[in-house]
Amino acid sequence: MLKLEPRTNPSVLMSWMSPVFAVLLTVLCGVALFLSLGKNPLEGLEVFFWEPISNLQGWAEVGVKVAPLLLIAVGLAVCYRANVFNIGAEGQLVLGAITGGWAALHLNESSTGGALMIALVLIAGMLGGMLWAAITTILRDRFNTSEILVSLMLVYVAQLLLSYLVHGVLMDPDGANFPQSKLLDDGFLLPIVVHGTRLHLGILMALLASGLGWLFLSKSFSGFKLQVGGMAPMAARYAGFSSRKSLWTSMMICGALAGLAGVCEVLGPVGQLTPTISPGYGFAAIIVAYVGRLHPIGVIFSSFIMALFYIGGELSQSRLGMPNAITGVFQGILLFSLLACDVLIHYKLSWRK
């Protein structure tokens, strides 16, 4: 019988190599998938791993996807390190898009935009994300509800709310009844970082968030308190660190970053409010956070991989005639491979009768 035996000294190197192995395993599974569908696996791999980064335009598109993934993953890393299992970042993103989008549409009626307006809209988006996260937090804090369930369910509430709004009050009156808002003026759109591409300011904000997240978790006393609360709640109580404070801090950071990711989508590549503002960035960022070892710098690399999957998925639809679900399939394989590799960090397989 196969048995898992605990290892005495789990390797630190392997805990960082595990994501690499997981990506390699995912590639192998991809090859098998392409073969079984009768496609040339080399062609498939090229579409996923080479074509997106073969030119500047491609890099920029990857950056466009990295921005929201990285913003959210940094927030999730903070949450998960505090043992707060917020899996509703998608909902916080949608709320950020709603409040930010609403503020932008409202301000756009009397202003043509500019740096100050954009800043106001970004703040509105962050507040929206925090508001959505606060519902989960208050219920957990006061009534000890599971933040996993509440935050997940609130995702669907947020999506339906967005859908309701773009079908109603926020719908463009001249939009031929399409469920979408007016297009925002150029003055409200985020500045483009690389000329001639769609890569916007969001990527710089995401990298900044990653740096600040690292400073917070690795160097600050508040970040230390938060992680002690996550690792050993009794030790946190012994030390006098407030678990409520950790809960609120981590949820508010994550809500703000997810909200920012949402409003950046509105002010960035989308340029208006639509019912599907995010192709599941909030959920994909959970995988990104874990593949990046819940490390604010580590998630830069994992969000890059995840962005490749998104673009590769889109390309393989047009180039190879693969179904739409391919991106989700790759995300799922990556997560499973990572979990499998992580088990082997702490356990070894042995054969015993």
């Binding site: 600050s220 006393f221 508040s222 690792m231 009794m234 012994y238 030390a239 006098g240």
Partner: protein
Amino acid sequence: MPSVYQGIYSVHVTENIFIGPDDLTLEAQQYTSQKDDGDMDTRLKLRGITKRYPSVVANDAIDLTVLPGEIHSVLGENGAGKSTLMKIIYGSVKPDQGQVFWNGREVSIANPSAARDLGIAMVFQHFSLFDTLTVTENIALGLPKNTKLDELAKRIETTAKQYGLDLEPQRHVHTLSVGECQRVEIVRALLTKPQLLILDEPTSVLTPQAVERLFETLRKLASEGCSILYISHKLDEIRALCHTCTVMRGGKVTGTCDPTQETAAGLSRLMIGAEPPAIKHVERQPGATMLKVNNLSLAKSHPFATALSDICFELKAGEIVGIAGVSGNGQQELLAALSGEDPRADSAAIVLQDQPVGKMNAAGRRLRGLGFVPEERLGRGAVPDLSLAQNLLLSHQTSETVNRGFVRFNAISQIAANIIQRFKVKAGGPHATAGSLSGGNLQKYIVGREVMRDPKVLIVAQPTWGVDVGAAAQIRAELVALRDAGCALLVISEELDELFEISDRLLVIAKGRVSPSIKRADASIDQIGLWMSGLWEQPPAATTTAATPVEVSHA
């Protein structure tokens, strides 16, 4: 033993020969009837038992022989490998190497139920009883489904009476004292007519008086031919009770002897390899009141907690006050209320240096001069995955270690290195994780961490629990040195000897109430034992003759 039997002679073959748990009609003839070949003289024989865990060899070529009717003690410090060995005998752990002979036949004990079928019974340190069920119902749980409860109740009563164990089968377990719960476990074991009864640290939950009654039962049992394996680290008990003693140290047998012929010092030398140094105790005049507890009452925070009621005591600078008591009588709750981990108390119920702190959290009280060493080292006193330097931040949270919200990593490494050096902590350095240290070394580090803060009041729970004797002596000496420096210390311990060794005054906690204090010089073990049953309101004259004290309520 013919070699052809080795390995194939499993319990499934033997279970037809010996009684099963449901076959309770066979009587004690089992103990005498089967001495037909030479090897039959031994009840249990272990040869070369070895069990390796990833990080440690728990048992290294252990040989052990138990004769019928023998009370055989296995003596060793925490971590010596006693529990692993017992689990191997009881079938819950499989040895990597070695042979087990049962009544002269080699057996391989696959699981605890196979062990029970052989006639091996075990009473664990921690009881597995359901509070809401009666004694009979609890015992019936381990028996076949068709057991009739009223018949079983009668059998329980007969067996209990036979061995002098008072037990009412109809009582619900939550109304029983800890000693009575242990009797339920013992009767449950006896109903299977065991030929070998294993007891794991049975006296850690008993008052000294209840211990004596347990010993009478065990002696009677042994006189009828049942062998007893008695696991303990308490030398006096072993010398009073046991016929033979096997001493273990670091997974190996270091000697087998007749404990009645050995001195406590001799046994101690076998157990730890050295004699523990004695502590010099000098009377000192205590100073000002540093901690005052006024009518502290606290409701249960969960159904299995102990409510605290009306606790009053004072702690003065330059004295050590010891709190004795059987575990589960409110120690945990009192500690949490004093440390600030449970801030539900009335503000005025706890006064720290003239300041009411009942509602303050642990960090606030720490700033006002309180230090606390909890009994759980990993997960409460230290975070296992963090380095020793980082763990310093749990209690050192001043400008020395934190600057404008940022951790001063150089400073904490330096302080951690100082603690390691001054308190002789065996560790890889300030960056070794807390989880990588042995229990004793981590305890030295945590005590050192609190001592270095120079607290005005230090509360220490179970200072030497699971700590080897050398480290324990060092920790006690540090506590006494701190007292001499003028700190007020409160020590909660289940080891009476330890409290008598270091305390100036003693308190006893029972059923969530705390006794008046008594000077250590005026206290006797008997009297404290009686107080541990909650009986401090009686006139002291009665204490010396009281024969059957009421027992402590089970939490």
